[in-house]
């Protein structure tokens, strides 16, 4: 279920560009990347890793109910995240902290969710069209497909105007591929030729269940049965993630219909802070993936291109500051009022909400108004 000859790789684990016929096709994209974007790849991966570790620490210190680590999946997320245009819409699952950061989401809003202060609550249009996290596995794929149908009905596909043509990208995991909703999303997407990219992060584990229980065939073989072109990439290769997502989003925007990317990556940590991965997977498997670390690989590549020690030191300092700032702001988050429970259950006036809000108000007032 892991890397095979079919897996597209542009940057090898030793940090050198791959010299293959398939890689050759993406060479113009790689050669066209300017130094500042390459540096942004490294900066974002490093910053989000520091944030992710800090958030895990906050959970261990009792400040969060739960944390959902993204450790090890930075390249898949950062490459694909930078490939999207501002007008594109992103439907995440719940581990795409790096993508949210790239699109402009304040990642402390993710923390607020896991601190029990909200169910998300951000406004997608204010944060780079990065939609809310969806915790029921795979449900968001249908929302993304419906959204993409709407984009198509709006006539924003295949006009040739690259500031207006719009694609939708949806993230999901290997476990989600077993869900009915995900398969129904494939059906609707191909039927209506939606401008959409399905981005599968195969991190090899659905909590404690290995991907081999979800599928006996490589997951990227499935879309062929739906009539959706697909490709499997080395998800720990940020260049492959970027180049293939760029190509797939372009195809979607230009009216060629949906595309599917399977990024092979690995969840280095627990599914969430609530589970213990040592109970279900072997140390040598984890160790083998540690040797494929996405950030170390890309650092070697950048050093080979002449990036300085000073650059890496600056990024490390920036990452530490980012994590410390997130911690500070986490501890300063204010709890919502009890009355906010009733505020947005409905958009329009609702007598039950009015009655129960009023009841709670007078009940609390009976304790002196400070219950």
């Amino acid at each position: 279920m892991s890397h095979t000859a079919e897996t597209l790789q542009l940057l090898a684990p030793d940090g050198r560009l791959v010299d293959s016929e398939r890689a050759e096709r993406y060479r113009p994209v790689v050669d066209g990347l300017d130094e500042s974007l390459l540096q942004s790849f490294h900066r974002t991966m490093t910053v989000i890793r520091a944030f992710d570790i800090e958030a895990g620490n906050l959970q261990r210190q009792g400040q969060l109910a739960l944390w959902i680590p993204s450790l090890g999946q930075e390249a898949a997320q950062v490459g694909s995240g930078y490939a999207a245009r501002p007008q594109d819409h992103i439907f995440p699952a719940y581990r795409e902290h790096a993508v949210g950061h790239i699109r402009g989401l304040d990642v402390v809003q993710i923390i607020a969710m896991l601190r029990g202060l909200s169910h998300g609550g951000w406004v997608p249009e204010e944060v780079g069209n990065f939609h809310l996290y969806t915790l029921v596995i795979g449900s968001q794929t249908l929302h993304a497909t419906g959204y993409a149908m709407g984009v198509q009905f709006d006539g924003l596909v295949g006009t040739g105007d690259e500031t207006r043509d719009t694609a939708v990208m949806v993230y999901f995991g290997d476990g989600a591929t077993s869900q009915g909703d995900v398969n129904e999303a494939f059906v609707f997407a191909q039927s209506y030729a939606t401008p959409q990219v399905f981005f599968l992060q195969n991190n090899h584990w659905a909590i404690s269940v290995p991907v081999s229980v979800q599928s006996r065939t490589p997951l990227f073989h499935r879309p062929a049965g739906f009539g959706i072109p697909s490709v499997q990439i080395d998800g720990n290769d940020v260049l492959a993630s970027y180049a293939v997502t760029l190509e797939s989003l372009d195809a979607a925007r230009s009216g060629e219909g949906p595309r599917f990317i399977e990024a092979l990556t690995y969840r280095m940590g627990a599914h969430t802070t609530s589970d213990d991965p040592t109970k279900y997977r072997a140390d040598d498997e984890v160790e083998s993936w540690r040797r494929r670390d996405p950030i170390a690989r890309f650092e070697t590549y950048l050093r080979g291109r002449g990036a300085s020690d000073q650059f890496f030191a600056e990024v490390a300092a920036e990452a530490a500051d980012f994590a410390a700032d997130a911690r500070r702001r986490t501890l300063a988050l204010e709890p919502p009022t009890a009355e906010s429970m009733f505020a947005h259950v409905y958009s329009e006036q609702h007598p039950v909400m009015d009655t129960q809000r009023e009841w709670l108000r007078s009940y609390e007032a009976a304790f002196g108004g400070d219950a």
Binding site: V136, S139, L142, Y147, D181, E184, A343, H344, V345
Partner: protein
């Protein structure tokens, strides 16, 4: 599921949708399915719904109809007859045969600013879409802290009396009435059907629109000039003094029949048409119970943990000192809907309603 989707039809829908969308066609105000002019017309509920949907499609180009077989066939009950012809395949969309897919993509379309109206072919087929309705559609406005509205209507033909096979005669409304974030209504007459479907589509909240399929074909008057009542209002439809009976959908005509029969026997029954199951407009009901002192709640659904149970509990809390008798429920039995030859024994009829009235009067 009773019908299958022809794959080539789905492809041609896509093609014509694209062609139509780029032509920049307006909503289609001259569509033949639109009823023009005012006054009172007589028509069956299915036609009233068809006309109401046509009016909504004409009024707002963001309104879309989605469902299985709703295009050229016009739906298995012909409620959407000619609407695809009149408004185009980009507005009246035959979907793949997947209820979760219909609701899930409708959610995405609503996020994009559309107002999807989904048809679930039969009551018992709503459950493949249950997860998207209850864990997504119902909660998304709250999850977005109010920045996202979810103007999605789900039309559900429901109820018995049509002699159909399993999963085609059920009354699953309680599952949805129990779910915060949803609104539920059910018209009992062609007039209400015509207006309530338009009001449901105009609502910015998700509305489950339960259509009593045994009432699709009897004709009744429709006042095309005014709805006369808010979407979530209940209404006293027959005045009486001895007992109040309340129901919704197909049960309302049964209650009126029971009241007419009881009158011959000297019992005066007041009938309340609930119209809205979530929220429930209790004031007309409570006002009635305060006068009659007795209440019978009738419904086709199984009685356990039902909408009728909720009404009985609330009326007991809010009109306790007016009640001369416990609130009586007359319901379907707490069994799966039986084979059609037994539906007469399963469904409450006029005799069972009058038996409930007798019990209420026996205290």
């Amino acid at each position: 599921m009773t019908d299958t989707l022809d794959a080539s039809a789905a492809v041609s829908t896509t093609t014509s949708a694209t062609a139509h969308a780029t032509s920049g066609d307006a909503a289609g105000a001259s569509a033949a399915s639109l009823i023009t002019g005012g006054g009172v017309r007589t028509m069956p509920m299915a036609k009233a719904l068809n006309a109401g949907l046509a009016a909504a499609l004409a009024a707002d180009e963001k309104v879309l109809l989605m469902g299985e077989d709703i295009g050229p066939l016009g739906g298995v009950f012909r409620v959407t007859e000619n609407l695809q012809r009149d408004f185009g395949a980009h507005r009246v969309i035959d979907t793949p045969l997947a209820e979760s897919g219909i609701i899930g993509t409708a959610i995405g379309l609503a996020m994009r600013g559309y107002r999807p109206v989904c048809e679930i072919q039969f009551d018992g087929f709503i459950f493949p879409g249950f997860d998207q309705i209850t864990t997504q559609l119902a909660k998304l406005t709250a999850r977005h802290e109010g920045s996202l509205r979810m103007p999605v209507v789900i039309r559900v033909p429901y109820g018995g009396h049509i002699g159909a096979v399993e999963h085609h005669q059920e009354s699953p409304e309680a599952y949805f009435a129990h779910t915060p974030g949803l609104r539920l209504v059910s018209p009992a007459t062609p007039h209400d059907a015509y207006w309530m479907i338009q009001e449901a589509i105009a609502s910015d909240d998700p509305v489950l629109f339960f259509e009593p399929k045994s009432r699709y074909w009897p004709k009744g008057p429709v006042d095309l000039d005014a709805s006369g009542l808010a979407l979530h209002a209940s209404r006293i439809v027959r005045r009486g003094t001895d007992v109040t009976v309340v129901g919704h959908g197909a049960m309302v005509s049964m209650l009126l029949d029971a009241a007419a029969l009881a009158e011959e026997e000297g019992t005066s029954i007041e009938v309340v048409d609930l119209r809205s199951l979530s929220p429930i407009d209790y004031e007309p009901l409570l006002e009635s119970v305060r006068r009659t002192g007795r209440l019978v709640v009738a419904q086709e659904a199984p009685g356990g943990v039902s909408v009728g149970s909720e009404i009985a509990a609330t009326v007991s809390e809010r009109a306790f000192f007016s009640l001369e008798a416990p609130v009586i429920r007359v319901s379907g039995f707490d069994t799966p809907f039986p084979p059609a030859k037994l539906e007469g024994a399963y469904l409450p009829d006029v005799d069972r309603i009058l038996d409930g009235v007798d019990r209420a009067l026996s205290y």
